[in-house]
């Protein structure tokens, strides 16, 4: 089946409570995207086009000059700019060759709007990021 591997999405907290059928539907929306080591995946301040889940490899995260914890397989990023249609809030760089699966805004929004479980998980994740930012 095309799209993201189900086993990968099961590891992503955002999708962990979906049943098999829902996961298959979500997985089909994703498209593979590869980044070479050193490539900028998203750039802080740029407009946002897609939300990504990492399937393999590692990425560094920087907000301004401050480094954030790296991202690894099962982590996701890019959702904030898709939610507010604003600018990227961090720069993500491929620390190794990176295999990701991505959803563009035009798939992400209907997915979140149509699935309360995903929307709630997303809210929890954003609340956590807000508290972390306030604590900085």
């Amino acid at each position: 089946m095309a799209g993201a591997p189900i086993e990968l999405l099961q590891r992503v907290p955002l999708f962990s409570e979906l049943d098999q059928g829902e996961l298959e539907q979500v997985a089909r929306l994703f498209k593979e995207r590869r980044f070479a080591q050193g490539e900028t995946v998203v750039m802080e301040g740029s407009g946002g086009a897609a939300f990504f889940v990492i399937a393999a490899g590692e990425a560094t995260v920087a907000v301004g000059t401050a480094q954030r914890p790296p991202l690894r397989a099962g982590d996701y990023f890019g959702e904030i700019a898709l939610i507010d249609e604003g600018r990227r809030s961090a720069t993500v760089t491929a620390a190794s060759d990176l295999l990701c699966y991505g959803l563009t805004f035009w798939e992400f929004r209907p997915l979140v709007e149509g699935n309360g479980v995903i929307a709630w998980k997303l809210l929890q994740s954003l609340a956590k990021k807000l508290r972390a930012a306030q604590a900085d």
Binding site: G3, K31, E32, R33, M43, G47, G48, A49, G102
Partner: protein
């Protein structure tokens, strides 16, 4: 509507994009265009999604094209008056086999959905779902290539302006070299020849992709076009104007002594 067409049958800009339709028009008019196929925007999306039927169709229809391949984006609104996506959308030269095509098509789909492309779309008021067609053509191995304007883009004068360099035309388009510069009048008389500094040539690699090769010292400032080749370009300019109308921006290449059209579009701006 078919999702994949031979270039000669490509007419629908909304589905296939202006580059594909421009090349279709050129092919039907008998202009020398390398053989190729055009993929519609929805078909490109299906290939990018690894839809098995779409991938199989692509592999089957691309199998007859002489290798290697050049895979270029052809957005519906590309090169339009309101917004130009040149530079935003990817071109992949020297894709070595049809088996590499699905990945190449997916990369082009992502280039239309990249942060930079979306930022650009937002800036020009086009925050809509991008649809990108793709043109798959045999890649030439040109001795010399470049661009030609059928009307001087700097001052609007009724003369041809030609810029050329050794190897693939991307060296001229991407500004990797200072190309040779020629002006010729409507009758083909050469008005000006200015040698450039062509220190590198972009060539196809046997394993795929391209490489910048150092130009032999004797060729760096040697004019890359002779009298006969300028005459061929003059005839091509006239023919393109007959087919498309005035003020055209033509990408061309000369391979094995034959002149080819790689793209023909309206000049979007003159200095006049």
């Amino acid at each position: 509507m078919s999702a994949v067409l031979n270039l000669s049958d490509t007419r629908d800009v909304t589905a296939f994009g202006s580059k594909a339709v421009g090349l279709g028009e050129a092919t039907r008019a008998g202009l020398p265009v390398p053989p190729g196929i055009a993929l519609s925007g929805p078909f490109v999306e299906a290939v990018a999604s690894e839809d098995e039927e779409a991938v199989a169709t692509l592999l089957r229809l691309a199998a007859h094209l002489p290798l290697p391949l050049a895979v270029r984006s052809s957005a519906a609104d590309e090169d339009g008056a309101e917004a130009s996506f040149a530079g935003q959308h990817l071109t992949l030269l020297n894709v070595p086999s049809p088996a590499d095509l699905p990945q190449a098509v997916r990369e082009i789909w992502w280039s239309a959905n990249s942060d930079s492309a979306i930022t650009y779309r937002q800036r020009v008021g086009l925050f809509t779902r991008p649809s990108v067609g793709v043109v798959v053509q045999s890649l030439l191995n040109p001795e010399v290539a470049g661009v030609m304007f059928t009307q001087n883009p700097m001052n609007g004068a009724d003369e041809r302006v030609i810029e050329g360099s050794w190897g693939l035309g991307e060296a001229v388009v991407a500004g990797t070299v200072i190309p040779d510069h020629f002006r010729i009048d409507r009758e083909g008389r050469v008005l000006e020849r200015i040698p450039g500094l062509k220190q590198v040539a972009i060539r196809a690699l046997p394993s795929g992709g391209t490489v910048e090769e150092a130009t032999p010292p004797g060729d760096v400032e040697k004019l890359c076009l002779d009298e006969g080749q300028l005459e061929l370009l003059s005839q091509l300019a006239l023919r393109c104007e007959q087919v498309y109308g005035p003020a055209r921006d033509i990408e061309w290449a000369i391979a094995d002594g034959t002149l080819y059209v790689l793209q023909c579009r309206a000049v979007t701006r003159t200095g006049r």
